[in-house]
């Protein structure tokens, strides 16, 4: 088992944190994990992204050059990472901000209105948790409780936000039917 | 339509990598305008620093060389001595000029190198993500002063212009600011004088410009300008600290 994922978006969209929660949860779930943010100059004002690898053997390369799962929180991220994906890879698209899908027909694509949903649930900044839910739904190798536990830990300093973030996560998770594209 | 304010031909027509509201862009434009107004762009060589302005050569339309961190004044010295007919300027941040590179600027100034130095004092290491600079204000929070700069451990903000102005070699040393229109207009004039000095083969010139880093200050661009007005100016007095006429 080897999940080579990339979480990508604007700086400030909570992309690194979402990746971290998954990495922590993976570790707690006794998986081998690595989390490697891009730290290039593209950081400034541009996109931020992090490669998260989950595996049942030691992680060889933390660099993900052909991702099996991509979370694209904005359009430049989709344009950058979709072409690099493995055949059969899962592409999760924040359709609140991205009005296209990838032209590749060898990917499984999921669209979710993450910002809108987060907004509706009362916290526009929790779009990352919505999409994390989708990630959980389509990968599903860590128990839900473990992920939720680490969402709680991640927001331990701001307990007032915990439940809302959990709600967003669950909404994201449940908004995906088990098979295929969802609008 | 005639243009009362137009984009300088000494700038390349490309977007910059600077954060929204970062005043690096303002000063870039002023330098470009001066090169154009003095008609010296075609014999001017800039020296890029290591800092957020490391890519300045992508924006200004004159020849450029890129210096190791802090050494721009030495490069400018070598270039100017070898080719006195060229106009040499460095563009440096406060980490670059006031920290690692203070020796180079001090001695270039003291030797009276006929170069022009644009010194962007934003009180922080912008490019590396917001560490404390020697010019960081007391109590200011940065990633390496997370509880605010503790002057008992790290000292008070370094005053570069004051230090340089004490020395006997004639020079033009000024501090100005770009936190509002009035000061921007004045800054532009001082930059022009700093280049004019070189055109006239007069003296070393340094323009210290109080500048912003909204991103690493954690403020909006507007708040950043207000921060200069309300806080930075308490520690850094504006004015002409030394001019060649005096000496």
């Amino acid at each position: 088992m080897l999940i080579q994922s990339v979480f990508a978006g604007f700086g400030g969209q909570g992309i690194l944190r979402a990746g971290q929660i998954i990495a922590y949860a993976g570790m707690a779930g006794n998986l081998y994990v690595s989390w490697l943010p891009s730290y290039g100059p593209e950081m400034r004002g541009g996109t931020a992204n992090v490669a998260v690898v989950l595996a049942d053997e030691p992680v060889a390369s933390p660099v993900v050059s052909t991702p099996s799962v991509v979370i694209a929180m904005n359009r430049p991220s989709l344009e950058k990472f979709a072409p690099m994906m493995q055949t059969g890879g899962k592409l999760i698209i924040n359709s609140s901000l991205i009005d296209i899908v990838s032209e590749r027909d060898d990917l499984i694509q999921y669209q979710i209105r993450a910002n809108d949903i987060a907004q509706e649930l009362g916290n526009p900044r929790a779009a990352n948790m919505v999409i994390l839910g989708v990630f959980q739904a389509v990968t599903g190798i860590i128990p839900d409780e473990t992920v939720e536990e680490h969402i709680r830990q991640s927001f331990a300093a701001k307990p007032q936000f915990i439940e809302l973030n959990i709600a967003c996560f669950r909404h994201g998770k449940n908004s995906i039917s088990q098979s295929g594209i969802n609008a | 339509m005639e243009l009362a304010f137009k984009i300088s031909t000494a700038m390349k027509d490309v977007p910059t990598h600077y954060c929204p509201g970062c005043t690096h862009g303002v000063v870039h434009r002023m330098v470009a305008e001066v090169l154009e107004e003095l008609n010296i762009r075609e014999r001017t060589v800039g020296v890029a620093p290591v800092g957020c302005a490391v890519l300045i050569y992508n924006y200004l339309n004159n020849d450029f060389m890129e210096a190791p961190h802090g050494r721009a004044p030495a490069l400018a010295t070598g270039a100017k001595r070898a080719r006195p007919d060229l106009i040499l300027y460095t563009y440096q941040g406060d980490g670059d000029l006031a920290s690692i590179g203070f020796n180079e600027i001090f001695h270039a100034a003291n030797r009276g190198e006929k170069i022009t130095v644009i010194f962007i004092n934003n009180g922080i290491y912008g490019m590396t993500g917001g560490q404390m600079a020697p010019t960081t204000l007391p109590e200011q929070v940065t990633t390496t002063s997370p509880d605010g700069r503790d002057v008992s451990q790290t000292g008070f903000p370094v005053a570069v212009s004051e230090a340089l102005a004490t020395q006997a070699t004639p020079g033009f040393i000024v501090r100005c600011s770009v936190h509002d229109g009035l000061h921007q207009i004045q800054t532009k004039k001082l930059i022009r004088r700093a280049f004019q000095n070189q055109v006239d083969n007069r003296c070393f010139s340094l323009v210290e410009i109080l500048s912003t880093c909204p991103t690493n200050w954690g403020l909006t661009p507007q708040q950043s300008l207000e921060h200069i007005r309300d806080n930075t100016l308490q520690h850094y007095k504006l004015g002409i600290l030394k001019s060649p006429e005096e000496v």
Binding site: - | E2, A4, P15, C22, G25, V26, K189, P214, P221
Partner: protein
């Protein structure tokens, strides 16, 4: 008659021009440009006195000031 010319695709929405304008001519648009910024736009052109402060303050060379007729000389620049 001054005219503010805004290259909206270049604007980073920093709003500095808006605060700089003594006449409240400018405002932030409700739309975003290609780079994802809410850009500056002219909200009230007739109030403009052609003082150029917006252009002087813009860090991104977004603004030019056009002029039909004589320029009022507020300051050298």
């Amino acid at each position: 008659m001054p005219r503010v010319l805004i290259r909206q695709e270049r604007c980073k929405g920093c709003e500095l021009c808006i605060y700089a304008c003594p006449q409240h001519v400018l405002a932030i648009s409700e739309n975003i440009n290609e780079k994802g910024y809410f850009f500056a736009e002219v909200a009230d052109q007739p109030r403009c006195i052609g003082c150029r402060l917006c252009a002087v303050t813009c860090p991104d060379q977004v603004i030019q000031i056009g002029l039909n007729g004589v320029m009022v000389h507020y300051y050298d620049y």
